[in-house]
């Protein structure tokens, strides 16, 4: 891969199907250690008259967290910039950040939610990077999230009701792990029965260019299936469509097929291929609509 740290088509397709992608221990230990100190300062000083402040909303990422800043060093790592560029381009802007600190033996269970407000209908998206600067043991305060929930249209408070969803995950992993969320992914903070503080820095980034083929597309010709790829007819054994056939344990059959449609629409935006389809759902309807001039 050399100096090109952008994601592959296969990684992008998994992100579209799941709403997240994780990179274990991608941030070096030395930055992680200083990162915790900076998170602690940011938590205390954010709203104080003086001290460390987050960037202004709308600031180009390159101008955020100037040196000396461990958060800035992490976000300027070539591997991290390659990931960011793949989703929101080379020059995204800062939306907001937050230091998530769960103290030892904290019992608060945050309700499941999505951030911000109900989405517009277009396929554009922001990404949120969750940086865990220390080891997180299973069940000790890692973020809970629901794979595949990112393309549903809901109101944030409407998710409070769901205490448990089949297939949900709670983050655990080694220090320096970064998990990238589509902004629509359902998630929640969790109790920390452990004896150590749990720190996490979340930053949301907005795209400033159309999010079309921003990743390393060298493998796209091999993986991009034709619109005829149809599970009830013929399929390619290794394709984007196969990845989009991921059915999460909490989905009904109708949910699953609708998700395939939503994933195909998002992939049309990401690739610029307006004929893209999986399992003929869109092509079938579009072909019939042409018969009556729609």
């Amino acid at each position: 891969m050399g100096s090109d740290h952008r994601l592959t088509t296969r990684q992008m397709a998994h992100f579209v199907a799941n709403g997240f992608i994780r990179f274990d221990a991608i941030v070096p230990a030395e930055i992680n250690e200083r990162g915790i100190d900076e998170m602690r300062r940011l938590e205390v000083e954010r709203f104080a008259p003086d001290g460390l402040k987050p960037p202004h909303t709308g600031t180009p990422l390159d101008e955020c967290y100037p040196p000396p800043s461990a958060i800035g060093e992490y976000l300027r790592l070539p591997q991290i910039r390659g990931i960011i560029e793949s989703f929101v381009g080379p020059d995204p802007t800062f939306d907001h950040d937050w230091t998530h600190h769960i103290q030892p033996r904290a019992t608060y269970v945050q309700p499941l939610h999505v951030d911000a407000i109900t989405d517009s209908a277009d396929p554009t998206f922001d990404v949120q990077l969750f940086w865990y600067p220390h080891d997180v043991a299973p069940g000790e305060g890692g973020t809970r999230f629901v794979p595949g929930s990112h393309l549903r249209r809901v109101r944030s408070s409407g998710l409070d009701r769901y205490q448990h969803i089949a297939g949900e995950q709670q983050f655990s992993g080694p220090a320096g792990t970064v998990v990238v969320f589509h902004h629509g992914l359902w998630h929640a903070g969790q109790p920390n029965p452990g004896e150590g503080d749990r720190w996490m820095h979340k930053v949301r980034l907005n795209p400033t260019v159309p999010q079309v083929r921003l990743w390393n597309t060298d493998d796209l010709p091999d993986l991009q299936n034709p619109p005829s790829d149809h599970i009830f007819a013929r399929i390619l054994p290794d394709s984007v469509a196969q990845i989009f056939r991921t059915m999460h344990p909490w989905m009904s059959v109708t949910d699953y097929r609708n998700e395939q449609v939503q994933r195909a629409k998002l992939w049309r935006y990401l690739t610029g291929d307006q004929a893209y389809d999986v399992d003929h759902y869109l092509t079938r309807l579009e072909g019939r609509a042409e018969l009556v001039g729609n």
Binding site: Q163, V253, Q262
Partner: protein
Amino acid sequence: MEQRTEQQEQQEQQTEQRRERQQVLYLWANGSSLDSGTIGWAFHDGTDGNGPAIPLSTPPYPSGIDALRDGWMLLQSSQLVAPSPGEEHLNTYLEYEFVFERRVTTPFS
């Protein structure tokens, strides 16, 4: 005015100390039938831990039918709503919701 007997007073005191409380169970299923598989759940306990718990398995009941067999009473199931034009392929909240209750008489101080 009729005098209350000692027995009546004792009964009132016992009633005061033993009150009925409600436990509520939400199950979300992967289909519209009560025997469809459980994909989500939530439990709210009006007894504050003094009543029976739900099974520790995940999910606590594989389907709504299993909840009925464990003594839960169905309060409500979600209506089947036709999709609005233009939103036929849009997923929103979990669609098939079943709400159960269990009334528990338990001592309270």
